[in-house]
């Protein structure tokens, strides 16, 4: 139990500095929008601050923050789904609903540094051409058509390639996370 306002502020500061990047990573992976992810992260920490006296310091803090974040995310989805009713948004809504159904405790269990390390290790396991494609798309910010021109391939072939690379990376990174968790 935190007794003083100064103590609350200090704890909040520590929580923000420690967990904000991980939290935003999770929220970005669910919303795909940096601005909204940042907004939701603020909302989450605001809620954390309001409930900070309820925090049981003998229990892990990350699941507690994630629980609050998930509520913020669900509130956001609810508001969004009533605000958008255009037919071509249906696919986005389906994706959003599916992502919201995820167990938040399965995601973003690693710190950003750990995630980056996992990514770096997994990238090293990819074939050279695959690594180049990841570099071109995620570092050089090229799209598949631009890469296709560069590589003299069809954009369909590049899309299929990046699809499979993402799948391989997902499997690899999940493997690393589960090993760490175990």
């Amino acid at each position: 139990m935190i007794q003083t306002d100064a103590g609350r502020r200090e704890l909040l500061r520590e929580l923000v500095l420690t967990y904000q990047a991980r939290l935003r990573s999770y929220l970005y992976s669910r919303t795909g929008n940096a601005e909204i992810a940042d907004d939701l992260a603020q909302e989450t920490f605001l809620a954390v601050f309001r409930r900070i006296d309820q925090y049981d310091s003998s229990r892990p803090v990350w699941p507690w923050i994630m629980g609050i974040a998930r509520n913020e995310l669900l509130n956001y989805y609810r508001a969004a789904s009533t605000a958008r009713r255009r037919v071509d948004d249906r696919l986005d809504l389906l994706v959003a609903q599916r992502l919201a159904a995820d167990d938040p405790h399965e995601a973003a269990v690693e710190s950003i540094d750990e995630q980056k390390q996992s990514l770096s290790a997994c990238l090293r396991r990819l074939a050279p051409r695959a690594r180049e494609l990841v570099t071109l798309i995620y570092i050089e910010r090229m799209n598949c058509s631009e890469v296709a021109k560069l590589w003299k391939q069809t954009s369909g072939a590049v899309r299929t390639a990046i699809y499979r690379i993402r799948k391989a990376l997902e499997t690899c990174m999940q493997g690393k996370i589960s090993r760490r968790v175990v």
Partner: protein, 639 residues
């Protein structure tokens, strides 16, 4: 079907599906839960990759501080949550973020700009699929609109009135005054006799406004990730992320005044970049020093300019002489410290100079030298750093793997105190495609210390690697910077080893009491500190160590000697170029380094094309000539 599904999912992730394809994918995922799973998995991993590759630790720290400030400023009692809390919170957040931006001067530019997020309504940089957003902004019907007009204005040949909309590509001529609002909220005030030649449509990379003449004042809305507004004039370009500025354009001159924020200003004739911060201005005009001046300060008188045609001829003769030299690959310098491996070879320096002049693999001699270089193992700090610089300049994509290997060598060879010595081959295997280079903890050959000359080249090499898209271990950069800060002499200079300590505000020791530094090492240190600061996203324009180094250089400025040293004066010239460009100044004190150095070099070149006395060995002539070429061509380019 599987391939079709993969194709559709990948297209969705990229934001590149047509309406028909979206409907097809909607049908597929609605009827098949496994397809939905695959789509969700791809979206998640795509967004995770995007997130992990777009943020720097410094951006993370800033965001953390903003969140903290916002939450602390918004400590409302529980139970008083407003119904429209998000919008009010967003306003509060925006205000705090804007205030924080002004306080800490966080406007970024160039590639680093990609890390910034849009302020309020801006769309993401790429067409990634988004979850539904509450606010839907209708697309603008035109690129811009004239909101206020005094006197006549013409869109193309047609006179227009207030309220007229400007389409992409249209020219706008204003007789007295016009206020134009762009679709992103940017406000332009066009002064008397101003002509906007064209306004490009907004794209994923931003937009270009071509100003032919007149005065343009701009209040530029903060630009979304990866986008910028570029003002293009006949002789300069100003790349803006979000700021208040004024641009005065004539056919031969462009004057940029920045009231707030930060703008990258590029002079197109004798290309050189300047970062113009709020409160400063710069002028791109023949004969006028291209340097920052505080707003309100008078422009300096025009200096004697360097004749471009003479320069071109001198560079051509020098590169011809270099290409005629045989056995460039066989000129080594070794000693016991490198166990027989070359501690320095002129091969990499010559390649860098030739590449800088504009040669590429189509020149047979350069191709031959390149093949030799690429087939050699990476053995010493000097050669590896120069190699990275040459390859980055030549083709950062094609040679990225080799550049990553150079980065690994430099990272693994950093001494424990942050310096570099001659170095040793690293056993770390760098697989093709590597984008992040971390120190290999297994590599145990790191010496306790090195020297400042190798350390200076290592900084240049790391910068080239970073410019080629290789992410460098932040610890290495921080340790490198720490060394330079701690090794300064009390009079503001740097020497080959650690000085007697500089502390801002402390009276300078009399020269007799201080361990003296010298010119080439001091400009090398300024360049290295600028490099690390830029890579670490750290403020450096007002850094006391750098300012003291610049002050020392200004007081002992020379283009014919290496101050406080008996040799290597052309190395000092090259150092002046690097320090001048990396810090963003055309002057050390009142000394214009480029015209002074260039005029001296033009007068000192031998008829055959080289620099140095004819009687000295070829090795020295090659080195002197390479440094002269690198100076004349201004080898250091920002970003």
């Amino acid at each position: 079907m599987t391939e079709r599904l993969e194709h559709l999912i990948a297209g969705y992730v990229e934001g590149a599906l047509s309406q028909g394809e979206r409907q097809e994918l909607t049908r597929l995922v609605s009827s098949d839960p496994q397809a939905m799973e695959r789509l969700a998995e791809q979206v998640k991993v795509h967004r995770t990759l995007e997130f992990l590759t777009r943020r720097t630790p410094e951006t993370e720290r800033r965001t953390a501080m903003r969140i903290l400030q916002s939450v602390q400023a918004k400590k409302r009692p529980a139970g008083r949550r407003e119904t429209r809390r998000r919008s009010s919170f967003r306003r509060n957040w925006t205000w705090i973020a804007a205030a924080a931006a002004i306080v800490v001067g966080i406007f970024l530019y160039g590639s680093r700009a990609k890390e910034e997020r849009p302020e309020v309504q801006a769309p993401p940089p790429r067409k990634t699929p988004e979850a539904p957003v509450v606010k839907v902004v209708p697309p603008p019907s035109a690129e811009a609109r004239i909101e206020r007009l005094q006197g006549k204005a013409f869109l193309g040949k047609n006179e227009v009135a207030e309220g007229a909309e400007i389409a992409p590509g249209q020219s706008l001529e204003v007789a007295e005054l016009a206020e134009v609002r762009l679709s992103d909220g940017t406000r332009l005030i066009l002064g008397p006799n101003t002509t906007i030649a064209s306004l490009s449509p907004a794209t994923d990379r931003g937009r270009t406004i071509t100003v032919e003449r007149g005065r343009v004042e701009a209040d530029v809305a903060k630009q979304p990730d990866g986008r910028s507004i570029v003002f293009l004039t006949p002789n300069a370009e100003a790349r803006v992320l979000g700021t208040r500025l004024a641009l005065v354009v004539t056919p031969t001159s462009s004057r940029l005044e920045v009231q707030e924020g930060r703008v990258e200003f590029v002079r197109l004739v004798n290309p050189v970049n300047l970062i113009v911060d709020g409160g400063f201005y710069a002028v791109a005009e023949k004969g006028v020093p291209f340097t920052l001046r505080p707003l309100g300060e008078q422009e300096p008188p025009a200096d004697p300019d360097v004749d471009q045609a003479t320069l071109d001829r001198a560079i051509q003769r020098a590169s011809g002489w270099l290409l005629d030299q045989s056995n460039l690959d066989e000129i080594f310098e070794t000693d016991g410290r490198t166990q027989g491996a070359p501690k320095f070879s002129v091969l990499e320096l010559a390649i860098l100079a030739l590449v800088q002049v504009g040669f590429n693999e189509t020149e047979p001699k350069l191709k031959e030298l390149l093949d030799i270089m690429l087939n050699r193992p990476l053995q010493s700090t000097y050669t590896v750093a120069l190699q990275a610089m040459a390859l980055q300049k030549l083709d950062p994509i094609q040679y990225r793997h080799r550049i990553a290997q150079c980065a690994q060598f430099l990272v693994d060879n950093q001494a424990k105190n942050g310096q570099w010595c001659y170095g040793a081959p690293t056993p770390t295997v760098v697989p093709p495609g590597t984008i992040v280079v971390m120190r290999d903890p297994e590599f145990d050959k790191r010496p306790p210390s090195g020297d400042n000359s190798n350390s200076h080249f290592a900084a240049l090499g790391l910068r080239a690697c970073a410019a080629a898209g290789i992410k460098i271990d932040r610890e290495v950069l921080e340790l490198g910077l720490k060394w330079w800060i701690e090794s300064q002499c009390s009079d503001g200079s740097w020497g080959y080893q650690k000085g007697d300590g500089f502390k801002a505000g402390r009276p300078k020791n009399p020269p007799s009491e201080s361990k003296p530094g010298f010119g080439s090492m001091t400009v090398g240190a300024i360049a290295a500190m600028c490099i690390y600061s830029q890579l670490l996203d750290r403020e450096y324009k007002r850094d006391p160590s750098i300012l003291a180094g610049i002050d020392w250089t200004a007081r002992r400025f020379s283009v014919t000697q290496n101050p406080n040293s008996d040799n290597w004066y052309r190395y000092n010239l090259f150092g002046l170029e690097r320090a001048g460009i990396l810090y963003g100044t055309a002057q050390f004190g009142s000394n214009e380094w480029y015209p002074a150095g260039a005029n001296h070099l033009l007068g000192a070149q031998r008829a055959e094309g080289f620099w140095g006395r004819p009687e000295i060995e070829v090795r020295s002539r090659v080195i002197e000539t390479c440094f002269a070429v690198l100076f004349l061509t201004r080898a250091t380019v920002l970003r």
